[in-house]
């Protein structure tokens, strides 16, 4: 089966004609998908869902809105304010050009995007402030859903038919809502995560009374054999939780370890999930921050084409999800701006419908300002091609930053006690300290030595993240000392200073040189 291309998407839009989506227009992915050749339908997940999730009924006022389709109907039912009292007449944004790798002069090619209050009525626009700034659907605007649907086809092309998408207020909310949908303490539920896991995900599950079970990792992420063994031999009484039915994983540039799952690793994990009927939450904010290995090669300096770029991306769980057992959680935070508080989830129609029901009472969807500006940027200004160009630019930028950090490691860290992997994606380096080499190591716990290093760094003016902050099961004894260092935000000079300081702190504690 041929993968969809940008040209296919352009042709579909052309054929469909201008999109008409007024205030609070309902939309789903099926309205915008390419015709797909026979794909199977997703499995159903009724037994995986919580009572709370299953009890959600559609909002009565939203149901009544279907009557508005009748010609001549006057509504005195809704509580939507009139746009004549919106104090915003237009909003514009100055957009820097995406520089090519030679670094063209950005100021010469800066451009502007503008959205007015009544662009739809007064022109041929598809989105305007009167729509974006009024109440909308919790799933997000039709305009953004179209772009996300197309993007999903382009990048993931899910292998089942009834996938759907909806916008979120960011991955934090995506994870939070997914957990409320799937895990119930009264059922003794637990979930599986990487043994070192995104701290905020752990902090979401804990107050809900959901037990977290960490899976041992190697350089490629969680080890499928370990996961299989754990699930096969699960003893609910001993574990104090019923057998897990949810896996939470960050497959690319994992936070905190920086590990990235290979295609083979994902397939193996997927198979274990099929065997034990596990639903997968694929949280992938760093997917497009794949870092390059060819940047400094003189022989291959050119930018790959869109199709090469896409082909070089490792397959996502969504792209191998024949069962519809994956909810993919995506975000604009790392690739556009975090302050948009906007992302999206992709899963089977059943799961997206339940997700939207919750979003109707939990958030009513993302900000209209965010939707308006991101739409203008990614759809009208950049288009899918321009968005891929942007992603390649980010890859180049983050690769350069990573390389500065790795060079600093090489130069300043005592290799006799420190080891690390070169991350192939994301924002994080994960450093292992052989704490047993500390003088009198036997007198101290790993936790003590970790704190000692952390405090010594702080004293010298460097903040690093402790590995123990990310432990899925903090009650288990800590055997290894890790630190997470990010190369995302600091200047090259600051990174060098900070890594040198980190090295000095280690040498002093470990009495080296």
């Amino acid at each position: 089966m041929k993968d969809p291309t940008i040209a296919d998407i352009d042709a579909r839009r052309q054929a469909a004609g201008k999109m008409v989506a007024p205030t609070a227009a309902y939309a789903d992915s099926d309205m915008f998908k390419l015709q797909c050749s026979r794909k199977p339908a997703a499995k159903r997940w009724d037994n995986h869902l919580t009572d709370e999730c299953l009890a959600r009924a559609p909002g009565i006022l939203k149901v009544a809105a279907r009557f508005l389709k009748r010609p001549g109907m006057i509504s005195l039912a809704g509580g939507l304010p009139g746009t004549d009292y919106f104090p915003f007449n237009s909003i514009s944004a100055a957009i820097p050009a995406i520089p090519d790798e030679a670094g063209s002069n950005m100021s010469e090619t800066e451009s502007t995007i503008t959205m007015g209050l009544h662009d739809i009525a007064s022109g041929d626009a598809t989105f305007d402030l009167s729509v974006a700034l009024n109440y909308g659907q919790a799933a997000g605007s039709a305009q953004m859903i179209r772009w996300i649907t197309e993007h999903t086809e382009l990048v993931h092309n899910p292998p089942y038919a009834d996938w759907d998408t909806c916008l979120t207020t960011g991955n934090t909310a995506g994870i939070y809502q997914a957990l409320r949908m799937l895990c119930d303490k009264n059922r003794g539920d637990s979930w599986i995560t990487e043994e070192y896991c995104y701290a905020s995900a752990l902090e979401t599950a804990l107050p809900m009374g959901i037990k977290t079970v960490g899976i041992k990792m190697d350089a490629d992420g969680p080890i499928p054999e370990v996961m299989d063994e754990l699930l096969t031999n699960w003893d609910a009484a001993k574990k104090g939780a019923r057998k897990p039915h949810v896996l939470y994983t960050v497959p690319t540039g994992q936070n905190p370890t920086g590990s990235t799952q290979s295609a083979a690793r994902k397939r193996a994990i997927y198979q274990v999930c099929q065997k034990h009927d596990i639903y997968i939450l694929e949280d992938d904010p760093y997917y497009f921050l794949q870092l390059r290995s060819d940047l400094h090669s003189q022989h291959n300096p050119s930018k790959p084409s869109a199709s090469t770029f896409l082909a070089n991306l490792p397959p996502s769980f969504l792209s191998i999800d024949t069962d519809g057992r994956v909810m993919r959680i995506d975000s604009f935070s790392k690739v556009v701006v975090p302050g948009a508080r906007m992302g999206w989830v992709t899963a089977s129609e059943q799961m997206i419908e339940r997700f939207i029901r919750h979003a109707e009472t939990a958030s009513q969807g993302p900000s209209g300002f965010s939707q308006a500006l991101i739409y203008k940027l990614v759809d009208e200004k950049w288009g899918h091609q321009g968005f891929l160009d942007r992603l390649q630019h980010l890859q180049t930028e983050y690769t350069a930053r990573r390389d500065v950090m790795l060079a600093a490691f090489d130069k300043f860290l005592p290799k006799s006690i420190v080891s690390w992997n070169s991350p192939s994606a994301g924002m994080f380096c994960w450093i292992r300290i052989n704490h047993s080499l500390r003088p009198n190591a036997k007198l101290y716990s790993a936790l003590d030595i970790e704190e000692e290093i952390f405090a010594a760094c702080l004293k010298r003016g460097v903040l690093v993240a402790k590995g123990s902050w990310f432990r899925a099961e903090p009650d288990m004894p800590l055997n290894d000392v890790f630190f997470r260092l990010t190369f995302a935000a600091s200047s090259a000079e600051n990174m060098e200073v900070a890594v040198r300081t980190f090295g000095t702190a280690l040498r002093s504690i470990f009495k080296l040189e």
Binding site: I74, N89, S90, A93, T172, A199, G339, T361, F369
Partner: protein, 557 residues
């Protein structure tokens, strides 16, 4: 873009004249009456001046990326006020068990001068694909859309205004990760706004921004209600349908309290609680009240000051925590004088406007037992998905912990755009003028709907109370006069009228949609109409159709 830099200075210059124009706020006469006596006159005329002076004294607000802030940084002196009570027993186990995020705790070390952080996962603002936002916004005195189109104010938000242009807030800060409380810049404005409008009578009140009152309500309910404890919540016996739809999946019951034209009846609430029978009810005695005091959705009822005081006393007596949901607070309208009668005189300045508002629950909350939920949806734009709560430090801290994992706070685009408008372009006084204008505009819309009702509805069958606030008019239909009163249920008659409305081309909301206790009998025949969005002509046509549908059902001509 360089040419736009001039625009910034123009816009900031217009801010100051807006304040200084109203000299009465600074006059000696006004200052003499400034001493707060009761909450009715809590609004001190010199307050805007005090706030301006406080800001000047505090110096420029420096709050960079993800700067932590709280209301205490921006409040005036709280001397002599008591501290809020604690609500440990009211909170759920889930809420009590929330721990501060370890990464955010580590951020406290960032205060150390010269510290380099390799700790956080924040992207670099260099890579943000937006250099500047520029917008055209409404300005006083003529806020109309027409005036804004022709001579709205252009305002600009740069990427590095805080660093390069002496600004306090910019895109590099707003569009990065932030605190779940929202930005310090917006928190300052909202804290001051709360002092102007609510002036809480206890010392340790705080504010947290929200992603709108929808999200705030769900979080609040999860903070207080636990089905495993047999919890339940009290509300009006007709209540906001989305609130009911938020409550139901949590596995807790909502109990309706009888209402009259001023909303919740305190005596009924007291009686319900005094005689609470846990076994018969299947829930333990409620410890939470959810109420919409102004322009209640759906009944349009507004609780007067004495009503609010009486309800507060009942809440004290039974140790009830109050969720005060006030999206329509600033849609309090001019008193309805009747058709052809001269209009009630409009407030002549912002001081009169603020004094004309019915005091909030927060303003009488000596115990700190109220969480007020405010929203910009009805007074600015719903799409901002931006609101805020006011409550005691304990409650706000728990709310914040929850928001850290549930949303991470409102959109940075929303915050920086709304801040530019409310704080930097309009200022407090300009915003109050905007609200004052909205009051008069909604008064006109209400009066148009009331006129349509007087012209088109059979007065012996349909009755209504002119709403004092909000967007909604609530029709009571005298079902006893219905020819099928004995043979058909109220629900069937309601359905018949509704179907007939749809057939003739008007959508009104059925009373039963809002019934709090879905399994109890409908106490009467009601419909809800809104005057927020339709034109006067459309309202007249729509009400004529509604009137005909009622008459048809009752077998009238």
């Amino acid at each position: 873009m360089a040419s736009r830099q001039g625009v910034v200075s123009i816009s900031s210059r217009t801010v100051r004249p807006l304040h200084s124009r109203s000299s009465h706020l600074y006059s000696a006469e006004a200052a003499a009456t400034a001493q707060p006596a009761t909450h009715q006159v809590d609004y001190a005329p010199s307050l805007l001046g005090e706030i301006a002076a406080r800001r000047a004294k505090a110096g420029k607000l420096v709050a960079g990326i993800a700067a932590a802030s709280d209301s205490d940084m921006f409040k005036g002196p709280q001397t002599g006020k008591p501290k809020a009570k604690r609500w440990d027993n009211h909170l759920t186990a889930e809420s009590r068990s929330r721990e501060p995020c370890s990464l955010k705790q580590a951020a406290k070390h960032l205060k150390q001068p010269g510290l380099i952080s390799l700790g956080g996962g924040l992207p670099s603002s260099e890579l943000f694909p937006l250099d500047e936002l520029d917008m055209k916004v409404a300005m006083p005195p003529d806020f109309s859309e027409k005036a804004t189109t022709t001579h709205g104010q252009r305002v600009t938000i740069g990427k590095y205004d805080a660093r390069d242009r002496d600004g306090t807030y910019d895109l590099s800060i707003a569009l990065n990760y932030g605190q779940a409380t929202g930005s310090a810049q917006m928190l300052r404005f909202l804290t001051e706004h709360t002092e102007i409008v609510c002036k809480p009578p206890y010392a340790d009140w705080r504010i947290c921004q929200t992603i709108g009152s929808t999200g705030a309500l769900e979080q609040a309910l999860r903070m207080f209600l636990d089905k495993d404890r047999g919890d339940s919540v009290l509300t009006e016996d007709f209540s906001f349908s989305t609130a009911l739809e938020t409550i139901a999946p949590l596995g807790v019951k909502a109990y309706g309290i009888p209402i009259d034209e001023q909303g919740l009846i305190p005596e009924a609430m007291d009686e319900l609680l005094t005689n609470w029978d846990e076994t018969a009810r299947g829930s333990r005695k409620p410890h939470l009240l959810y109420t919409v005091p102004s322009g209640q959705n759906p009944t349009g009822a507004t609780q007067g000051l004495e009503r609010r005081q009486a309800i507060y006393r009942v809440a004290q007596k039974h140790d009830i925590f109050i969720l005060e949901d006030e999206p329509y607070y600033f849609l309090q309208m001019q008193p309805y004088t009747g058709r052809g009668q001269p209009d009630a005189p409009a407030p002549s300045n912002v001081e009169e406007f603020v004094s004309s508002l019915i005091p909030t629950y927060v303003s009488m909350d000596v115990d700190g037992r109220v969480m007020r939920m405010d929203s910009l949806s009805k007074v600015l734009v719903p799409g901002s998905r931006l609101g805020w709560i006011v409550a005691s430090e304990q409650i706000v801290e728990r709310y914040q912990r929850h928001a850290e994992v549930a949303s991470q706070g409102p959109s940075g685009f929303s915050q920086v755009i709304v801040h530019k408008l409310l704080d930097e372009t309009w200022g407090h006084e300009g915003y109050l003028r905007w609200l004052m204008n909205l009051r008069l505009e909604y008064t006109k819309k209400r009066d148009a709907l009331l006129a349509a009702c007087e012209d088109n509805l059979p007065r012996d069958l349909v009755s209504w109370t002119p709403p004092a606030a909000g967007m909604f008019l609530w029709f009571t239909i005298d079902h006893t006069k219905h020819p099928k009163a004995d043979s058909s249920s109220l629900l069937e008659i309601e359905q018949e009228i509704f179907d007939s409305c749809i057939k003739s081309g008007v959508l009104v909301a059925r009373g039963s949609w809002f019934l709090t206790e879905k399994d109890s009998a409908l106490p009467g025949l009601y419909f809800r109409a809104t005057f927020a969005a339709a034109s006067a002509e459309n309202m007249n046509a729509a009400i004529a159709r509604f009137g005909q549908a009622v008459k048809d059902s009752f077998g009238r001509k």
